[in-house]
């Protein structure tokens, strides 16, 4: 029955370990890892799209490996100050051949190491040459190797728009990294890039994708794809002085006007030294708060104006939804058995999944506090903002709520609260006392 395991096999070409290390080390700071959004079918070759996306492994830094994240070349002509592959930096350089990338992708894919390929490149020789090489790899994979798995392709700013259009027919997702959230910072730290060189191709792809979808809907196009998983972008946080409010306004307009699927944030890590760059890494908590706010913009019906002012930063002590709720205590508590979905989604601690669970369960019975516990709904934050069958279980005044929420936040990220040792972890003594008072 299992005899076919013993037949003769084949030998193939392989990229060297050294080259793979150089090209991966240079690509790893790109945070995009998702492989969702594409339903590409297997048409007789290898692979298909998995609309929900799939994580294949996790590294000790807690990030997932879904795609083979690699550069085609790290030999760059640009001199972006923050980049480990910049032209003025003395680092080992490598350029892979299209065949090496294709073989690597196919062999990793069939062993189920990866869900697909995330291919990027330093600007090698010139933008058009680089984009042509990237396109060559993608076409080779699709047409010669019969690969139907997920491909995320990085767009090269200033490359010809016909190349970008052609690439979009073969890739599942494309992305142009905005890198820095303002034109001034871009001029200072990435002088060869400009706002237009990044935004124009994004706009072009958005319009062309919309036209493709419309023609497919009308039945004018029967086959083919055009970026089925859309576009994403990435911003470095903490390398330049822009406030969170500015970053999130840009994010919101990218979601609304460019229909981007995701905006990724990467807190700055000083991998290169430059007088124009900060010497210390940006706090990861800030990156975390930006992602929380990003989620609120996309799935919870919040507008950026509700979360943070243009020149302001997000509250680091509590998550953005808690911060908003504390500013709007007059809207709470909401009755769990009557509140509409939109109101439940705005309760701190209740996420989209739990909000739907509550809606489903309350159709059968009037929910009590004990029922929510039974349903494993996290009430540490939520209890201050809800009533269950008319009963309130939270702290009574805003100050106590704030203290408790801060304490809950600290508790999630650290060890158990000790009466005397952990006071310093709260923002100030007053908050710490309020937290204790509230608990008692």
């Amino acid at each position: 029955m299992f005899d076919f395991l013993l037949w003769e096999g084949y030998n193939g070409g392989m990229i060297t370990q050294e080259k793979l290390t150089i090209l991966t080390e240079s690509a790893k700071y790109d945070v995009s890892c998702s492989s969702s959004g594409s339903r590409r079918k297997n048409e007789g070759g290898t692979g298909n799209g998995y609309a929900a996306g799939c994580c294949h492994s996790f590294t000790p830094d807690g990030r997932c490996i879904s795609l083979l994240k690699i550069l085609l070349s790290n030999d760059c002509i640009y001199d972006c100050k923050y980049c480990p592959s910049r032209v003025s930096k003395d680092v080992p350089r490598a350029t892979a051949t299209p065949e090496e990338i294709c073989e690597l992708t196919m062999d990793f894919y069939k062993r189920n190491y990866i869900e697909g390929l995330f291919l990027s490149s330093a600007v090698h020789k010139n933008p058009n040459y680089t984009m042509e090489r990237l396109l060559l790899v993608v076409k080779k994979l699709r047409l010669e190797y019969g690969f139907h798995g997920y491909i995320h392709l990085k767009g090269i700013p200033r490359a010809d728009e016909s190349l970008t259009r052609e690439a979009a027919k073969y890739a599942d997702r494309m992305s142009y990294n905005i890198e820095l959230p303002s034109e001034q910072s871009l001029k200072l730290l990435a002088p060869q890039k400009s706002k237009e060189s990044l935004l124009l191709p994004m706009k072009q792809l958005t319009l062309e994708r919309a036209a493709f979808v419309e023609e497919k809907r009308k039945g004018l196009i029967k086959k083919g794809y055009f970026l089925p998983a859309g576009q994403t972008t990435q911003m470095i946080v903490g390398a330049s002085p822009e406030a969170d409010g500015r970053i999130l306004r840009l994010t919101q307009s990218l979601y609304r006007k460019m229909q981007l699927k995701r905006v990724y944030y990467s807190s700055y890590i000083p991998v290169v030294q430059d007088s124009l760059l900060p010497t210390a890494a940006a706090a990861q908590l800030r990156e975390h708060r930006l992602y929380q706010a990003d989620w609120l913009l996309r799935f919870y019906g919040f507008g950026v104006e509700e979360l943070v002012g243009e020149g302001e930063n997000l509250d680091m002590e509590v998550d953005p939804k808690c911060a908003w709720a504390l500013k709007n205590m007059h809207l709470f508590p909401v009755e769990i058995n009557r509140a509409p979905l939109e109101a439940l989604l705005r309760v701190p601690g209740i996420g989209a999944r739990n909000a739907h669970k509550i809606l489903a369960a309350r159709a059968y019975t009037k929910l009590k506090f004990e029922d929510l516990i039974k349903m494993k709904i996290a009430l540490k934050r939520a209890k201050h903002f809800i009533t269950c069958d008319g009963k309130f279980y939270g702290a009574k005044n805003e100050l106590a709520v704030r203290g408790l929420l801060t304490a809950a936040e600290v508790g999630e990220n650290a060890t158990q609260l000790s009466l005397f040792d952990d006071f310093v972890r709260f923002s100030d003594r007053k908050n710490a006392l309020v937290a204790l008072d509230g608990q008692l």
Binding site: F58, D61, D371
Partner: protein, 243 residues
């Protein structure tokens, strides 16, 4: 009273009918401590009675057999009893109950179904194939739940050109795709000869895994949450790390 059945869906449905009116019924297919002075009931699967029960339950909830299929695959000791309580609730209500989450029996069943589904989703990514000398792929793994054959459609759809074997080491069985047909067969131990390049590809992926990590941002707790240690046994990049 304790009702033993053979672990199959039909066996469960036969036991369900037999135990329905017994308020202290314990339904299981697993070996367990018997209660002193109590004679256990060994249920013989009756396809006709099972079909009748199935038809009736489907009238109440047309998705309930899908739920039962997942519940009986759950590796936890009490999962069959949870399935019994859930289906009793369904039969008594006469309408779908899966959203009645404040009910203990329903919530417990929904949680078990969720856990089986989660493991199935995880193994879509965590399976590691090795290429054998014949070009066929072989993947040993040890899931908590009996999901081996549920993985077949996923891999068959994406790797139609490669014969493969998904070997559940714990349950000593394998889901096989021979290039044309897919089936499940008992498999104690597989004798495999790896292809000439297999070790080199494994080394290359381990190198990739090390290179893509950012050491200054170590978050092992987060990693453990997403990739529990028990799943790492057959993973190339973690070098078969065991709990």
């Amino acid at each position: 009273m304790t009702y033993f059945f053979d672990g199959s869906i039909s066996g469960f449905l036969t036991a369900f009918l037999a135990a329905y009116h017994d308020e202290a019924a314990l339904v299981t297919s697993r070996r367990q401590q018997l209660i002193l002075g109590e004679a256990p009931v060994y249920i013989k699967t009756d396809e006709t009675r099972a079909a009748r029960a199935k038809a009736r339950l489907l009238c109440f909830d047309d998705g309930c057999m899908k739920d039962l299929n997942l519940l009986l695959r759950c590796g936890d000791d009490n999962s069959e009893q949870i399935a019994f309580s859930y289906f009793k609730k369904l039969a008594k209500s006469g309408k779908p109950v899966h959203n009645m989450l404040s009910d203990d029996a329903v919530f417990a069943a929904v949680e078990k179904i969720r856990r089986v589904g989660l493991e199935l989703h995880r193994f879509h990514g965590f399976i590691r194939f090795m290429e054998t000398a014949s070009g066929a792929l072989y993947a040993p793994f040890a899931p908590d739940h009996d999901i081996c054959d549920l993985l077949l459609p996923h891999f068959r759809a994406r790797l139609p050109r490669y014969p493969f074997v998904l070997h559940d080491i714990t349950r000593k069985k394998a889901a096989v795709y021979d290039g044309k047909n897919a089936f499940v067969a008992p498999l104690e131990q597989a004798e495999i000869v790896l292809s000439g390049n297999e070790n080199a590809w494994q080394a290359l992926f381990s190198r990739y895994y090390a290179a893509v990590n950012i050491p200054s941002r170590e978050r092992l707790k987060q990693m453990r949450g997403y990739l529990p240690v028990r799943y790492r046994r057959f993973m190339t990049e973690t070098h078969g790390e065991k709990k």
